[in-house]
Symmetry: C2
Subunit: 364 residues, 2 copies
């Protein structure tokens, strides 16, 4: 069954099409191909699996394909520059359309290229991971990493549409799939207690990748994200709640050189830490913090930072996060399952306790 979620923005709203086989449906692409040129950007893992299928759906159009190496460590200005060279060499012009076929890395970097090639060209996101379907492909954030921090260079650039094919989960490695579940759970924590409870109860059912279950989980996640983005396209306020767990998570990713954890895994740890901090500051009942951790553990996700990262090192890395405003750390705290708030009132000793990896956080 196909679902459609509309992201309603002032100038350039767009549809998200969700369901098995979406990637093969030419009718979903056709309205969004403005010119006669298309460039598909993918990676060496995803292209062999889905490129042929996608090319058929792109029909008669002239298509050039650029294949990145796989992995977050290639989400750099160097890769961005290589794609620019490719588009120039293939003489793409301002009316070209870029199609991102891959996970978050491919989507973010292709989005940033689309935002800035000749000051902006069309973009279609075809996310092939759960994480990308519920997060990075929706909302118009694009970026590459800097050695000093994740997503430090980027732009806002909305896609013309997102094609979220539920059939891709069949080939998605289990580890990546579970990492995506962390972001799905995030939507429950920040905005929908019922959705959270559904995931809590679904347990093994979710891990079995039932396509209908997943299409629904992706749809609900996209609805929540689209609702937030529609209210705050440029992240001046409300949108910050989508970063729940991410300031901790990004610090962990940076300090482990983006190699040890998948993004969703780092976010899982970050959410547990943010919930822990919320409980320590007295704004969340301890048992709710525990519920979040328990569900993530049932997804076999990591829930505590590597022991070798001292609280000092973590604290410093968090200070480089984009969410820092004038030197003040701003974090998303949980007030109840389904309700969060951005806070600058961070208690230093509570934060230090949370940051200490040897703490009780990682025991239970």
């Amino acid at each position: 069954m196909m679902h459609r979620v509309d992201v309603l923005l002032d100038e350039h709203g767009y549809p998200i099409h969700i369901g098995p086989g979406a990637m093969s449906n030419q009718q979903l692409f056709e309205p969004h191909l403005s010119g006669s040129q298309v460039a598909v950007i993918s990676n060496e893992t995803v292209a062999p699996l889905y490129l042929d299928e996608l090319l058929k759906a792109l029909g008669e159009t002239e298509v050039d394909v650029f294949t990145l190496p796989d992995g977050e460590r290639h989400k750099t200005l160097e890769s961005y520059s290589a794609i620019m060279d490719f588009l120039m060499a293939k003489r793409h012009n301002r009316s070209t359309t870029l199609v991102a076929l891959g996970g978050g890395v491919v989507g973010d970097i292709t989005g940033f290229v689309a935002a800035t090639f000749q000051r902006g060209v069309g973009l279609i996101q075809v996310p092939t991971t759960l994480l990308a379907q519920v997060d990075s492909a929706v909302g118009g954030k694009t970026a590459v990493n800097h050695p000093g921090g994740k997503n430090m260079i980027g732009a806002f650039h909305q896609p013309r549409c997102v094609i979220a094919d539920s059939a891709v989960f069949a080939t998605l490695p289990d580890r990546e799939y579970r990492a995506g579940l962390a972001e799905v759970l995030k939507y429950g924590v920040i905005a929908d207690a019922e959705f959270f409870a559904w995931m809590e109860a679904a347990g093994d059912g979710l891990l079995n990748k039932n396509p209908d279950t997943l299409a629904w989980a992706v749809r609900r996640s996209c609805e929540i994200k689209a609702g937030v983005v529609a209210q705050d396209e440029r992240e001046t306020g409300l949108r910050a709640i989508l970063n729940f767990g991410h300031t901790f998570g990004h610090a962990i990713e940076t300090l482990t050189n983006y190699r040890r954890f998948l993004h969703g895994e780092a976010v899982a740890i970050g959410m547990v830490m943010a919930a822990d901090l919320s409980a320590r500051q007295g704004c969340l009942p301890l048992e709710d913090a525990q519920r979040i951790k328990t569900v993530l553990q049932s997804f076999e996700l990591p829930v505590c930072p590597p022991a070798e990262l001292s609280d000092d090192v973590l604290h410093r890395a968090m200070g480089m996060d984009k969410k820092v405003v004038d030197g003040r750390l701003r974090l998303v705290l949980v007030e109840a399952i389904g309700q969060v708030a951005v806070s600058e009132e961070i208690d230093a000793s509570a934060l230090n306790a949370t940051l200490n990896a040897a703490d009780a956080l990682c025991d239970g």
Copy 2:
């Protein structure tokens, strides 16, 4: 005397302050410094002349300064990347403000950094050339060059304000000053026959750099540009008329590796070529094409392309321009002094005649 022109945009309009001493006026900067951090980006030629003055006007704020080498050939992704490294090393965050102190290269590259550092930070343009004051600092276009073409990588990012100090012309090399006059004349050609006639009559007066005359010329240029930009911020239509002469000009710049001509000089040649083509296609009286050429010659600007650039080579280079839509060349043609139109109806033999550098175009 100080002038103020307001660029009226839907979301983020901004003022342009024009007049001698504007750069030293702290009150003009103060409302636009959002955070406690400021980074001034300048170049090795301009910084020794104006940095101290600017720093005084920035007052108590913590300021970091990055100095680029001088020249269009440094308007590259490499320079962009170096500025990003600098901002990261200095731990600038999302609330920082970048100040571009310099000509078009510094303004364009700093603008692109501001557009994409942490997905967008504040920008104040302090243009120190005539060209930058009337063109590149106004309108929100930012970019770097690619070896395959000028301004191929960039974004739209509006400044918070523009400070156009008329005192800077005293130190501006004559050649750069005259190159700027080409763009000033452009505004007359595209939108204001009276302004054109005023420049035609001003002759030597303009070359003497009278500050009041210049403040007025800058003001009128900014008014015309602001009016066009307000109607078409993202260059989907009307804004294309600002590119009068630029498709030819960019091709010449690209083919001479951005070294032989200043941008305004290339645009002067491009305007003469565009007017020549307009006359050949029968939409502009020959004597009006001649008037444009005569004024540019009175400014001692070049008016024909280098003889060694064949029409084939020029034609191909024009095909890489951003204004090409689906392989069709679109050019701004003159219908009368003060009135232009974008046309895709380019007569091939007329264009070839114009492109032929050995042609009568360069004789009279």
